[in-house]
């Protein structure tokens, strides 16, 4: 059987697995208007972030490009940009660059319309966009059109030995099928960068990834903190992790075994297919934004202790190999792979199960975070001071 899924073809030839209208504030000050518009319109997804103004130019640029990339994500058939009017981000540029790929984009400015008229106008526009894209028909696509993000959070001893390697198996299958997988969490690679480097044939890509790792370490050093010190932590050692290499390898086991084709800045999308590393922090709120900005259709997320959250408009599959967590946090955990540990089921078998689940979700099956709407929190990674 050839694995396939039903998706929406977007004008830039990317394939969406959901068909939403993104409501994108260009500054955190517009969030209230954005939230109320989204509450009033079916399948309207708000990106409630807190950036976009009184930041240094490199951060404003990073926020601008991230918002453009989020708007281009193929799960969104249309975009409404909501500007306050005086923010640092250029809202016209955001709207224009998203519409350049041929996607319907509209824009409103709160300081021109007033708050209540912005709501009225925003709801009218978003509902019109939604009706328009709701007529889009789905078509069949294969693994080659799949773009998956992988992430781990609230990890424990079961993550490195069971859930991450099982996701890694699914990732390998997707890459072998010609698809695309993006992983982030630059900080998780520290200590295993020499091992990751063996999977990067292109010297320029290798240099860029090592630069990204060094950059985050230097930022920490500028605050007087060495991120390698105290790794592995006493808690890690008590849990059985002996060295920093072992800890990092457990985290990057979710990226499978194939070569890495490219390195992406936080706001960038991959050019071409294959396995890509993106510079994101480990924290869920920003890390998943980075993956969404890379254009992933969905995210496979492993957790030991039970990280509960989804992401706006992007299905997040929660996978746990901790038998207690799978029961206690069953409202959030989509896939319980704890029988790797309790029954000795192979990583291959559970990896195949994860891949099948990924395809089901790509095909329209809802994840738990989508169903219970545990999917609103997101933010954009910035590194400079707020003015």
């Amino acid at each position: 059987m050839i694995p396939k899924f039903l998706g929406y073809h977007r004008p830039d030839n990317r394939i969406g697995i959901r068909n939403y209208v993104a409501i994108v504030p260009t500054v955190g000050c517009a969030n209230e208007v954005v939230r109320k518009i989204a509450e009033s319109v079916k399948n309207a997804i708000p990106f409630l972030h807190h950036e976009g103004c009184t930041q240094l130019a490199p951060d404003i640029e990073a926020v601008t490009q991230t918002l453009i990339s989020l708007g281009k994500n193929p799960n969104f058939g249309a975009v409404l940009v909501v500007s306050l009017g005086c923010e640092g981000v250029n809202a016209d540029r955001v709207a224009e660059e998203i519409s350049n790929i041929g996607k319907p984009v509209e824009k409103i400015v709160i300081q021109e319309l007033g708050t209540l008229r912005s709501l009225q106008e925003g709801i009218r526009i978003a509902s019109t966009l939604m009706r328009h894209i709701s007529s889009e028909e789905k078509d069949w696509y294969t693994l080659g059109d799949l773009v998956l993000g992988v992430k781990c959070g609230a990890s424990d001893a079961t993550s490195g030995i069971a859930s991450n390697p099982a996701v890694g198996y699914a990732v390998d299958t997707i890459i072998e099928g010609g698809g695309t997988v993006v992983f982030g969490e630059t900080t998780e690679i520290i200590g295993a960068e020499h091992l990751l480097a063996k999977r990067i044939p292109d010297p320029a890509v290798k240099e860029k990834i090592l630069f990204m790792i060094n950059r985050i370490e230097e930022r920490a050093k500028s605050m007087g903190v060495d991120m390698r010190t105290g790794q592995p932590t006493p808690g890690n050692i008590a849990g059985g992790l002996t060295t920093i290499e072992e800890k990092s390898l457990g985290a990057i086991a979710k990226t499978g075994s194939h070569n890495i084709s490219g390195a992406l800045e936080f706001w960038e999308s991959p050019r071409g297919k294959g396995l890509f590393m993106k510079d994101t922090p480990g924290r869920e709120i920003e890390a998943m934004t980075g993956l969404a900005a890379a254009g992933v259709q969905l995210i496979a997320f492993t957790t030991g202790r039970g990280a509960p959250q989804g992401f706006p408009g992007i299905p997040v599959i929660k996978i746990s190999a901790n038998p207690q967590t799978s029961v206690r946090m069953e409202d959030n955990i989509d896939l319980d792979v704890s029988d790797i540990i309790t029954k000795g089921i192979s990583i291959k078998e559970k990896g195949e199960e994860i891949l099948n689940f990924i395809l089901k979700v790509a095909n329209g099956q809802l994840t738990k975070s989508e169903t219970i709407k545990y999917d609103e929190t997101m933010d954009i990674y910035t590194t400079g001071p707020v003015i």
Binding site: A157, T158, I161, A162, P165, Y169, G191, A192, H194, L195, D226, R228, T229, G230, Q231, P232, P234, I237, G239, G240, T242, T243, I244, E245, E246, L249, G250, A253, S257, I340, I341, T342, G344, S346, I347, K348, E349, G351
Partner: protein, 104 residues
């Protein structure tokens, strides 16, 4: 003695990770992660808690400890088959973070 389970994540690994608490003298059945068939049996020489590592072979001082098909550190003393493998007999090739200041 009881039969206990461990997992070998990579096919080149020379250690397995305990999937349950292992007592000295227990027989360990260790399965290679992505294979249905490769199973190794050995006897635990020490107590090994869940999530901790056991040696599958004799590893000489200075030889690599391999997990995830990668070197996670070097043996600081002779480790024999069935031994407990942890910070007391392994050192990172990157320098132990928590000892780094002392080393430099």
């Amino acid at each position: 003695m009881a039969e206990k389970r461990a997992i070998i994540i990579g096919e080149k690994d020379n250690v397995a990770t305990a999937l349950e608490n292992i007592n000295k003298g227990d027989t360990i059945v260790a399965k290679v992660g992505d294979s249905e068939n490769s199973i190794i049996n050995l006897t635990a020489k020490k107590e090994i808690p869940f999530g901790h590592k056991i040696s599958l072979v004799n590893i000489k001082k200075g030889e690599p400890i391999v997990k995830y098909n990668s070197t996670i550190g070097l043996a600081t003393s002779l480790i024999t088959e069935g031994d407990y493998v942890h910070v007391h007999n392994v050192e990172s090739t990157r320098g132990r973070g928590d000892k780094r200041i002392v080393k430099e």
